[in-house]
């Protein structure tokens, strides 16, 4: 994939300031149960249904770490090429808020799960990889939700989400443009999807992004004062928010003013950032190791097992697809966007033996059908084996290409096998001369003028007549044979 160009593009950058961005990405792990209790992580349950003494912070309750959450976090850390620490420590981040039942969040602070990784976001036009440093990956729990608009004059609290496991992935301040930030997020989302550790949906809140943004004069090595930008709910929102904050900082610096270290909130509707209300003393979280949880000690052999069982990651898959299926750069990028699509394609290609045809169908008909219905490919009614069979039928001349599209449309609705559909709706190609002659006779009888002109040697009418025969046969007639039969009549 191609990284966005590193040349300055915006007016601010053109004025000489360089943008420096680091991203903090919170990802909800797709465990069945919460990080420190056995409550379900189901999204969309009635308020406060998925709660227990532990996640309600009832007096006397204690956390117990979810081994599956540790496993998924480790998987993500390894895929991000981090060093997984043999010992990491859970810490308490203390602050008062009604949706934080314990009055502290269990997280990891000075001894995180993993450190020192990187994520490849593409390549320069010359082909050199562009990699963004990953400072750390750590495990923490989510807070609940405060609902301010449900009851007049009161705030309601839903603690279903309280205690859901998250990983926080912190990047180095290596990003130099909003577009690079977008590329980083897309690469990260793709990687996490391949790892199957998260649903990675910004809309459902299973992926959340905060951006640390600063600006510095050209040639400056020191980082400028940064602000933290929050409240973005899409990747494009992140890009726009970063751009807006950078512009604000550049304007301040250009006027000779200082950037104040603070939290900014993105307003996607108005397209601008504004300072968050700062809470007094809110930045002193009084971190200390959580005495309820022993240090997390990971057996190096166990970590190696996780590493060994990592699935094929996006870069590796793209390289392999290009080599194994002789596909071009564009096809490979598109097919590998999500692991489910790549799996689907690969299954079709293996059974049909013509990868290019498989690729065209997956990127064309399949994607269109999925977009129209809004269902994920994993629930698509046309299974790869059935699509492969349909393509085989085209290749073998059993159905025409246009009939195949009609058959596919029926398969999308019914989930039936292509032979059954072709048989049922009579779309199997007809090559039988008697039947074809019958259709030809009918067409000529219905169009006497054209029939006469054709008989008198007007050869260019042959195409029109073949079309009429195809139409009469509902696409079933074998056009090659129709041509031959018509030609025989004209010369006879």
């Amino acid at each position: 994939m191609t990284a966005p160009p590193r040349e300055p593009r915006s007016a601010e950058a053109a004025a000489g300031y360089e943008m420096v961005v680091g991203l903090e990405v919170h990802v909800q792990l797709n465990t069945l149960t919460k990080a420190f209790c056995n409550c379900s992580t189901d999204f969309g349950a009635a308020p406060n249904v998925n709660t227990c003494p532990v996640c309600l912070a009832l007096p006397g309750s204690l956390p117990v770490v979810n081994a599956r959450a540790v496993e998924l976090a480790t998987r993500a850390a390894l895929a991000l090429e981090c060093a997984v620490n043999a010992t990491s420590v859970f810490a308490r981040k203390n602050y008062f808020y009604p949706d934080l039942p314990k009055g502290y969040q269990i997280t990891q602070y000075d001894q995180p799960l993993a450190t020192g990784g990187c994520l490849r976001i593409g390549a320069t036009p010359e082909g050199a990889p562009v990699s963004i440093g990953v400072t750390r990956v750590h495990i923490e729990e989510d807070a609940g939700k405060s609902i301010h608009d449900r009851f007049p004059g009161a705030t309601a609290i839903d603690l279903n989400r309280a205690g859901v496991p998250l990983i926080e992935i912190v990047s180095e301040p290596d990003l130099r443009s909003a577009a690079e930030a977008g590329a980083y997020l897309r690469a990260l989302k793709q990687l996490l999807e391949y790892l199957d550790v998260s649903d990675v949906s910004m809309e459902e809140g299973s992926l959340r992004v905060d951006a640390n943004v600063s600006a510095r004069p050209p040639g400056e090595v020191q980082l400028g004062t940064k602000t933290e930008v929050k409240n973005m709910n899409s990747f494009s929102g992140v890009e726009r928010a970063i751009q807006a904050e950078f512009a604000r900082q550049c304007a301040l610096l250009a006027r000779g003013e200082r950037v104040e270290q603070q939290t900014m909130l993105w307003d996607g509707v108005r397209g601008h950032v504004r300072p968050a209300r700062t809470k007094e003393g809110s930045d002193d979280y009084r971190y200390f190791p959580d005495p309820d949880l022993p240090p997390l000690v990971l057996d190096p052999d166990w970590v190696e097992e996780i590493r060994k069982h990592l699935p094929e990651l996006p870069d590796a898959r793209r390289t392999r697809f290009a080599a194994e299926y002789a596909l071009g750069e564009y096809d490979v990028q598109e097919l590998c966007t999500s692991p489910a699509v790549a799996d689907y394609f690969e299954s079709v290609a293996r059974q049909h033996k013509d990868p290019k045809a498989a690729a065209n169908w997956v990127m064309g008909e399949v994607r269109a059908a999925l977009n129209a219905s809004g269902i994920p490919i994993t629930q698509f009614r046309v299974r790869p084996a059935d699509l492969a069979q349909l393509l085989n039928m085209v290749r073998d001349g059993i159905v025409s290409h246009s009939a195949a599209k009609q058959i596919f449309a029926i398969m999308v609705r019914s989930g039936d096998r292509p032979e059954q559909v072709a048989e049922r709706v009579g779309l199997v190609k007809v090559g039988d001369d008697a039947a074809l002659a019958d259709w030809i006779d009918q067409v000529l009888a219905e169009h006497p003028a054209e029939a006469l002109r054709y008989a008198n040697g007007e050869k260019k009418l042959q195409g029109v007549l073949v079309g009429l025969v195809m139409k009469k046969s509902n696409g079933r007639a074998d056009p090659k044979r129709v041509n031959q039969l018509l030609a025989a009549r004209s010369s006879g």
Partner: protein, 494 residues
Amino acid sequence: MTRDVLGMGVTHFRDAVAANELRVTEAVDASFVRAGEVGAGRDGLNAILWSDEEASHREAAALSKRVERSVGARPTHGSGTELLGVPVAVKDNIATLTLPTTCGSRILGGYVSPFEATVVSRLRAAGAVVVAKTNMDEFAMGSSTENSAYGPTRNPLDRTRVPGGSSGGSAAAVAAGVVRVALGSETGGSVRQPAAFCGIVGVKPTYGRVSRYGLVAFASSLDQVGVFGATVDDAAAVMEVIAGRDVLDSTTPPEPAVPPYRAAAHESVQGLVVGRPKEYFPSSLDPRIRERCDRALHVLEGLGATVKEVSLKHTDLAIPVYYIVAPAEASSNLARFDGARYGLRVHGDGLRGMYEATRSAGFGPEVTRRILLGTYVLSAGYYDAYYKKAQEVRALIAGDFASVFAGRVDVLFTPTTPTPAFPLGAKSDPYEMYLSDIFTATANLAGVPAMSVPIGRVDGLPVGGQLIANHFREDTMFRAAYALERALGQEAHR
């Protein structure tokens, strides 16, 4: 013929019930009679905060099915009959299903837990009946049970004096003969010190030996459920039931297995090496307490044990370290009492106003002091100087114990407290109160097991001797304690 059922050891009583010689409800009913007697009047003990006589009687009566099954059967671990019909008092910071769990605080006034502590479940599974929730210093912060929102508890042996604390209600209930056994909790001596003041046995297990699930946290790295018994055997019988791995508490290791404490206690102390740490016998120690301790050591020597002078040289740092670590953890543990979900809520101006009003009205002065202290020592810029430094010194204190136990010492013997029970209201200076834990806080900081046993009296007031063992060696500790108890006999209570 009426028998003094509360005068019987718990296993003796249990055997009589299982043999159908006594009704299963007998001890529970007797507890309520006795509680009525000692609680009555202007100088009533005020040991019990919450109880429900009818419910407890019903619970005991329902055990009759287990009696039928248990006739002739041995009370093996997990049989459900180890403590058949035994009434138990439980400190009010341990969650029970029907009685309130208030931690002696206004902020949890009327709070009833929807779940039960693991220790309570295990007691009930063994056939015991919780008959009372006992008074305590608010959130276990104190050494006299005077810091309760529900009034102080009096010492049954001298009602002008404190029973010690923070588990003073449980200690007083056992000492007054309301129950033979009770649960308390320890953070810096809250079981051993009141046991010493009330002339009974008090055990603080190894950190992690007993589940904390359902124990309302004060300082999580120091807290441990403890046991009071009228005798060593009573306490050991309860420990056998409650000790061991609990999947709901990550700090309880599965290994080593829980040994049979009662049987271990009965083994000889011949050849046992008893360390006498000199830092626990300062020149300022009350000479009468020193004399009692020397007498106890002499008795152990007479039974074949060897007494060896040892040194735990960081002992004097225990109180300063304790008063950094414990408040720091408490400041975080008590953040959940914010008026949002349960307990007291006092309305104020906005969210912050509600927090301030609720917590100001709900917490007493000692709890407030410790939350402020703990918040301060964890603050940015002070963490390294206080909390981190304290943890480093704590490691030195633990190291002191590790080296004496590595040097062939089996158990340490010290006085439990520097003085006998003091009069109610005598210690108004918090720092003076803190010093009454000077000999006990070390075991919590090091995580080692320790217990107090009666070793005699001074001016009619009980004196406790403390036994400290290596991690998970409660068996050795019980062995020394039982030998001492038998050899001293009535001398321990004179």
